[in-house]
Symmetry: C2
Subunit: 496 residues, 2 copies
């Protein structure tokens, strides 16, 4: 032993040491992780902003970060009541200030009463403040037309991402051909592929049907599942509704079919429902998996395992920075539920300011409360503007030759398909980048518009897309959409 | 295929379905995770609180949660200036309120300027707000007597735990006998053992020397390392200074020896320095690993890989609920550093209110600022009281027969050793629980005092300890310590 390490020690003293941690010796699962929403295109966008600040001349005056669903970064104002309650919780001396309405003070006091030492600075229990979990349960009951929700099945989290990773972590087992397979939609939100890679599980792709407005088809689920059984043990099915990046809102019939499929095939369901308040299209309506599952009765209602995720980051509030969220588990094995709590306890607790914010999200002012009118007005204004922007996006893109955009029924993104000329595809291949990455990078360099290439979300071979948020303010959005369309036309001419 | 799944489907329809996710089918690494600080003893403490609220008669009137370093839950007041800055950031309308001092307003404006959309509700880049990382770097430079710190080497995190897990995650590789071994102190803070179990790495214990006030001895490190080489590939060495649960503060000589050892044995160093402001004993002083490493010169300064962790949860502010923290990496391979940023980006960003709070922690008011005097007075009052409580704890425990407590040089805990009578040990074994868990559970049931058994942190075979925070308010602490000592005496008599 002494010899073995002595040699290394000697080599080290001579300055020959290689690092302990290198690309080759690091966790190779982590190395395989990809996360396009903050990938190279965003790194370059940050550099360009820096260069603009330093006075470098560019063909644009600002970088528009349409790559991420970050409403307040795009100028959306926080909901006044939420911030009032939170400021009162942060600095309880303000409880005596006439600046704040009575209902905000009442709410802040109620939250502080539920905190250790009456302070946001204390840890909470790992599943989150019990009172807030009760409020979440009541919110779910109202949302789902009275179907009961048990606060003991609700775990608060650091944004929805944290809860999604926790549930996937529980599900990962096996080795080689018995490794856990996780069915994820393509296109998907890349948290799923990233987490599956990090956990060394097997990603099983099922394709959403672009020709039918990105509908989820159970025949395709079945195909994906059966093909995957040779290489892994599929145990989990992830569904994103409303869809990210695709913006589709699933019909009740579709959800029923997915639940039947999951039940028959013994798949644990993960329902990413963080855009449940973001439904714009006429005729579209959000149906929670929990509600549909319950209304289908036994055996689904009593046996199908489900985890449903929600967040404070999206909806009409867009409070991404506070990292609030929750998961409701349904029909989870009680012993596994204890394991889940144990796992969460290692990280102590979700940020308490995010928990407090979530409380206001799930229990807004009552109609008789002084802040109710303003709260509702602010909420409706945001949602109405998002609906208008969803429509405008679809319309402008569909007027552009070579771009085709499905209706943005919900969520916060368009995911248009674009034609790319064969010479551009070839040029990209020569450069060793995906053709849509090549397009998006050129778009960024020449217009300052930052969108994410479809390859970061997955797409059918030979098709090209990009994801763009609908969040820029209305007065900027139309010129932005037109500029992007014009750039696409120019790019197409250049490579024709 | 259809048959295989059809059978299961049929079984399911007949109500015979087993759950997809059970103790047997779940992630077995997660199942092996243990986290005593929030384990069964705390579950029982919560139940007892509930029972007290329901009016059940107990031999005590309140549960004292001395199990976790949660200062504000124990009644410690937040630092006024920190909460003022944060409230202004949360609700910028308050910037026009005369309630707030000018320097708090200036600080809040500066933070908001650095946020997307000038709002805490926007995401930040995944490593945290650049301006705050610059402030952290300047803090480290001041702390370390001018040794440079590069903001690009600083990553903000969701408490220190998040950053520790991230760094360990990068380090995990190999299979069977080539699996990554992680050296951790015994006794340790159980985040380390829990994370090592979850990541399926190999825990390599090195024992701190209780007879020498929990000193870290390099001979023992060497023994642990060499014995471990048969079963794994040791690649990381975790050090907690000031110690948790042990309260020791390492000498500069000790740190130098550890660095030499890590370098010679090619170990990546993780320095958990979250208690860097919590040093009480005369003659003790905090030395950061970064500073010592740098002052040792090449090859250590230029080659030894190090990650140093800090947090907003401890120190004099005790803002656990905001989940603020950071890691500074030193000599990390630049390619690995990119991988680390990528991994962090999947979770988007640390809570922005925690980032803002961290900014105030690392750059308190300047002496010429209006809030400076109050800030310093509040800070010194907290630290002075903690020092008095550390001393009192040691003193009272050492007066009790059968209890022996090392000096609490730093951090927030005492970790006294206690004698347990053989009949109590035997009784515990009959019940299938660790003897110190048996003691702590009886203590809780009969006195309402909640402390964590030493077995949750690790201890030498046949020795028994508990961890108790020094955080209860002074007027409660002395009776608490006496009550605990008396219970130990009674327990000892009962089983003699």
């Amino acid at each position: 032993m002494a010899v073995r390490t002595g040699d290394q020690g000697q080599a080290a003293m001579n300055g020959l040491t290689e690092k302990v941690l290198t690309l080759d010796t690091m966790n190779q699962c982590v190395r395989r992780v990809e996360y396009a929403v903050r990938g190279p295109i965003v790194v370059r966008a940050l550099e360009l902003e820096q260069e603009l600040r330093q006075g470098m001349k560019k063909p644009f005056t600002e970088v528009i970060r349409a790559n991420i669903g970050d409403a307040q970064a795009m100028g959306q104002k926080p909901i006044t009541f939420m911030r009032q309650v939170l400021a009162l919780c942060v600095d309880p001396e303000l409880l005596s200030s006439p600046h704040f309405p009575e209902d905000a003070k009442r709410r802040a006091k109620r939250i502080l009463q539920a905190c250790g030492g009456h302070s946001l600075g204390a840890y909470t229990i790992s599943s989150g403040i019990p009172m807030i979990r009760e409020d979440v349960a009541r919110y779910i009951e109202r949302r789902d037309g009275g179907i009961p929700s048990d606060p003991n099945n609700i775990f608060l989290s650091t944004g929805a991402s944290d809860a999604i990773v926790t549930v996937l972590k529980l599900l990962v087992a096996g080795e080689g051909r018995t490794r856990t397979g996780v069915l994820i939609p393509i296109p998907q939100y890349p948290l799923y592929s990233a987490t599956v890679a990090e956990l060394d599980a097997v990603q099983v792709n099922y394709y959403l049907d672009e020709e039918r407005a990105w509908a989820l088809d159970v025949g395709e689920l079945r195909r994906a599942l059966h093909q995957a059984r040779d290489r892994c043990r599929p145990r989990a099915l992830c569904v994103i509704n409303p869809g990210n990046p695709t913006g589709q809102v699933q019909t009740r019939e579709c959800i029923e079919a997915v639940i039947r499929f999951a039940f028959e095939e013994r798949l644990f369901l993960l329902a990413d429902e963080v855009y449940q308040d973001n439904v714009y299209a006429e005729g579209s309506q959000f149906h929670s998996f929990k509600k549909v599952l319950t209304e289908m009765g036994p055996p689904y209602a009593t046996q199908q395992e489900l985890a449903s995720f929600h967040s404070t980051s999206k909806g009409y509030m867009g409070e991404c920075g506070f990292r609030g969220g929750y998961v409701e588990v349904v029909n989870l094995d009680p012993e596994v539920q204890k394991q889940m709590l144990k796992l969460m306890s290692v990280r102590l607790c979700p940020p308490v300011s995010g928990q407090a914010l979530l409380d206001v999200v799930v229990s807004p002012p009552e109609p008789s409360d002084p802040s109710s009118a303003q709260f509702q007005a602010e909420k409706q204004a945001v949602l109405a503007e998002l609906a208008a922007k969803a429509k405008l996006t679809e319309q402008v893109f569909n007027e552009a030759p070579g771009i085709r955009c499905n209706p943005v029924q919900g969520a916060m993104y368009s995911f248009p398909r674009m034609e790319l000329p064969p010479r551009a595809v070839q040029r990209a291949q020569e450069l060793g980048v995906a053709p849509d990455m090549f397009f998006c990078m050129r778009l960024l360099e020449e217009t300052g518009i930052c969108v994410v290439p479809g390859s970061g979300f997955g797409q059918r071979e030979g098709t090209y897309h990009f994801r763009m948020t609908i969040l820029p303010p209305m007065e900027k959005l139309r010129p932005l959409l037109e500029k992007l369309s014009q750039f696409h036309a120019k790019f197409t001419r250049e490579y024709s």
